[in-house]
């Protein structure tokens, strides 16, 4: 059980990082980005392609992939900020659904639908607790999740940039009238989450089932984690990701429960919704 839970922690760290990205996007640019992990997946696949087929050194290829992930996200953000500036969250998010489909299909075309020979960035154990080995990947992803969440919080709470971002998210039109450059800031948020997501996927992908679909669908457990924080709280998003990863790891240990592993994110989402829906909320004010 413990063995499985700790093994699942690497995935949990990845969920947590993606959940932080989703929360940021939801808070700052009013979108649930269904293409969040697909962007990361695409960046990674390009990196693998560069490394395996063109012989680019793997650190350089990975860097190129991460930059590409950021650029993809930036383009998408630019489209949304330009054409859907006034649209509601639903429409903005639906656009990312179309992009998710687009990226998975493109990955099939360019790289095939089989897992790729990822070169692990990190390998080997970091330390052992009670006879259970914790890998370097686990340590790094968990640290990354916590760090990203802390950094985002610090930026939002302490810096002038953070104040502008929050103003933009709470009252976009007012903020724009005050002279805050809405579009560049939104595209900046998209770019940053694209880079972070690709980085996280690059670290974990070699040790995961890494066909395009699986990597793109990582957005589901990430969304479950983000939902724990109501798509608003970063700390709960991180916690949700880690717990979900460990739970999946623990369940995967048992053969009889292994199907449950797939449904775990879904069940978590449904349970959280049941819990949070106790209070009646109405749509748009008056």
């Amino acid at each position: 059980m413990l063995q499985g839970a700790l093994a699942g922690l690497a995935a949990g760290g990845l969920y947590a990082v993606l959940a932080v990205c989703l929360t940021l996007m939801s808070r700052l640019v009013r979108v649930v980005n269904f293409a969040q992990s697909a962007t990361g997946m695409f960046g990674c696949y390009v990196a693998v392609f560069l490394a395996v087929h063109l012989g680019v050194p793997s650190w350089l290829a990975t860097l190129a992939g991460i930059l590409l992930g950021g650029a993809l996200s930036a383009v998408l953000g630019w489209i949304v900020a330009t054409w859907l500036a006034e649209a509601d969250t639903g429409t903005r998010s639906a656009t990312t659904v179309a992009v998710l489909l687009l990226l998975i299909s493109l990955a099939f075309i360019l790289f095939g639908n089989k897992p790729q020979p990822f070169h692990p960035l990190l390998a080997g154990p970091a330390f052992t607790i009670g006879g259970v080995v914790v890998s370097q990947v686990t340590v790094l992803t968990v640290a990354l999740a916590v760090l990203v969440a802390l950094a985002c919080r610090a930026v939002l709470a302490r810096t002038a940039l953070g104040v502008r971002l929050r103003a933009l998210s709470e009252r976009p039109t007012t903020a724009e009238l005050l002279g805050i450059p809405a579009r560049p800031l939104s595209v900046g948020v998209w770019t940053a989450t694209g880079v972070i997501a690709t980085l996280a996927v690059s670290i974990v992908a070699p040790s995961q089932s890494n066909d395009p679909t699986s990597l793109a669908m990582l957005v589901v457990p990430a969304a479950a984690a983000a939902l724990l924080g109501g798509f608003r709280r970063l700390d709960l998003a991180v916690l949700g990701g880690l717990v979900l990863g460990m739970a999946q790891g623990a369940v995967a240990q048992s053969d009889r429960l292994s199907v449950l592993r797939y449904f775990l994110p879904f069940l978590v989402i449904v349970a959280l919704l049941l819990w949070t829906q106790r209070k009646e909320v109405w749509d748009a004010a008056r």
Binding site: V32, T89, V97, A98, V220, F266
Partner: protein, 567 residues
């Protein structure tokens, strides 16, 4: 005329069957097979048209429901359930509907995007699970038996067309009925839906269930086509593609669902012929989907515009110039709506404090006050949209509690300051839905004419903002509530129409048997309509009583009128 109109859907259905028969006989064998695939996709798209196109929810697991249908059909085949393929198909649809309700139930009370997250989660999980458990009979290679009369490919195509036509008819009539109106309304405004006494959850769940049932039927049909169900036909990615296709083809229209299905089959087929990998099909759908969502217009409306041309682009407005025969107003009776000690605070801001309001039977109470005085908050609180409000309200002596829908059914209706009228319906369909009772044509037309509204057949998308507000008022009046709360109903009207509107409003208690609480800025209108007035200022009642007394009150003059307007 009306009979002819009613026969139109059946005529279209008969024509569709005839075309289906001709195709089943005339097409080459391979195309007949592709045709079945198109019909299967069309039924799934019809379902998405209901949930996404009409009710405005994002559902990303349509093929998971199809898999439920396929599973039931396969299981029935293995178990040899009596009734044959047709019965199994219906059972599959039913099972999928149940699954839809179970999935939708927790997600539906939270708005918008959560349903998309839930359905994508389900699609991803079901996808992986199906690969592991497989469909019943699949490992043994136990082929599903088609209906006896339709066992070869050509006749099975005809069978599929018959199923599609039946589904199309059901969707058409559902959309014309009460459920359909509620789907349109809930997509446009949940508050508006609750305010007419329709349950927001019921509206969403019925849309979701109907959509899932159609998905289930399409899955069952697919099983009959192939003989065996395979997980590869029901992947999450295909569900995503189908959703995007529904958006870009505008599948809330039945003909566009069929058009989308043709694309679904034709695009990969054409790519195959041109030697392009078929995955490019989904890339094409993805690009067109982004295009459609970013408001550059979708393919469906473009095709439709070519097909139908624009019949008339003119918008309809209000015509209140015709004089109406006067009806003697009834003397105000006992209090019918009594509100005592109503307080509302948002955090530290007190929006209303200890407000008392009384609306008499057959009377019209005007509520006036400067901006921010709490007038709309008052309406929200009384109609149940602010559950944390304190104080008591009674309607006809009974305590008024519970959700907005419950209060609406108890006889308290309200209108909104902002437009809550869904553009997808006609004036008549909307009014009938809001009234929530059987209306005669004369009653409906009479009320519309009385308020100078456009004719019942006019689509609401072609009615201007001011007239839409009045259509809303007409609907609520025809519901015959005890009390109707009107939140600035004249706001969208040209100024000269205000007084004419006031004259009609004055007759509302006598004509419709409804007492009115009117919030209005236009003092001319208030003076001509209201017997009694309540003045709010900073959330408190400043003065209350007969119109003349209140308007002469020095405190009211000072606080509300300021120095600029003299009475």
């Amino acid at each position: 005329m009306r009979l002819a109109e009613r026969l139109v859907p059946f005529a279209v259905a008969a024509a569709a069957v005839a075309v289906g028969y001709a195709l089943s006989v005339g097409l080459a064998g391979y195309f007949v097979y592709l045709g079945v695939s198109a019909v299967v996709a069309a039924i799934a798209l019809l379902g998405l048209g209901v949930v996404t196109g009409t009710a405005g929810m994002i559902s990303l697991c349509q093929l998971t429901f199809a898999a439920v249908g396929a599973f039931v059909v396969s299981a029935c085949n293995v178990a040899g359930v009596p009734g044959g393929f047709g019965t199994w198909l219906l059972l599959g649809g039913l099972a999928a509907a149940v699954a839809g309700v179970l999935v939708g139930l927790p997600a539906l009370r939270l708005r918008g995007i959560t349903l998309a997250v839930v359905t994508l989660g389900l699609a991803a999980a079901a996808d992986l699970t199906l690969v592991q458990i497989q469909f019943p009979g699949a490992t043994e290679g136990l082929s599903v038996e088609r209906p006896e009369a339709f066992s070869d490919d050509r006749s099975y195509f005809l069978f599929a067309v018959l199923v599609l036509v039946a589904c199309g008819l059901v969707v058409h009539f559902l959309r014309r009925g009460r459920w359909g109106s509620s789907w349109h309304l809930v997509a446009f405004s949940e508050r508006g839906t609750a305010a007419v006494g329709a349950g927001v959850r019921t509206s969403k769940l019925t849309a979701f269930a109907v959509s899932a049932a159609l998905g289930g039927i399409s899955g069952g049909l697919l099983t009959g086509q192939v003989g065996l169900a395979f997980p590869a036909s029901f992947t999450a990615i295909q569900s995503l593609a189908l959703y995007v296709l529904a958006i870009m083809s505008g599948a809330h229209l039945i003909d566009m669902a069929v058009f989308g299905a043709l694309l679904w089959v034709a695009v990969p087929e054409l790519l195959k012929r041109w030697g392009v990998p078929q995955d490019w099909g989904f890339v094409v759908f993805g690009v067109l989907g982004v295009q459609a969502l970013t408001g550059r217009g979708n393919l469906g409306t473009a095709v439709r515009a070519l097909w139908y041309r624009r019949r008339s682009g003119r918008t309809a407005g209000v015509g209140l110039t015709e004089p109406v025969p006067d009806v003697a107003p009834l003397p105000p009776g006992d209090p019918v709506l009594e509100v005592r000690g109503l307080s509302v605070s948002f955090g530290h801001v007190t929006a209303l404090s200890e407000v008392d309001i009384t609306v008499p039977e057959h009377g019209i109470l005007g509520v006036i006050g400067p901006n921010g005085a709490g007038k709309s908050t008052l309406v929200d609180a009384i109609s149940g949209f602010l559950p944390r409000a304190t104080g008591t309200a009674t309607l006809g002596g009974r305590p008024l509690t519970g959700s907005p829908a419950r209060r609406a059914r108890a006889g308290l209706r309200r209108t909104f300051q902002q437009d809550r009228v869904p553009p997808g319906l006609t004036v008549g369909a909307y009014v009938r839905f809001v009234a929530r009772r059987r209306l005669t044509g004369r009653e409906l037309d009479g009320a519309l004419v009385f308020f100078g509204c456009p004719a019942a057949r006019t689509p609401l998308s072609r009615v201007d903002a001011g007239a839409r507000r009045l259509v809303e008022v007409v609907g609520h009046l025809l519901a015959k509530p005890r009390v109707l709360l009107l939140d600035e109903p004249a706001a969208g009207l040209p100024h000269e129409e205000h007084v004419a509107f006031g004259r009609r409003l004055r007759q509302v208690p006598a004509r419709f048997g409804v007492s009115v609480l009117l919030i209005e800025h236009d003092l001319d209108l208030v003076r001509s309509v209201c017997d009694t007035l309540t003045v709010l200022d900073f959330g408190r009642v400043l003065a209350s009583g007969p119109q003349a007394d209140v308007l002469a009150d020095p405190a009211v003059l000072k606080a509300y009128m300021g120095e600029t307007e003299l009475l």
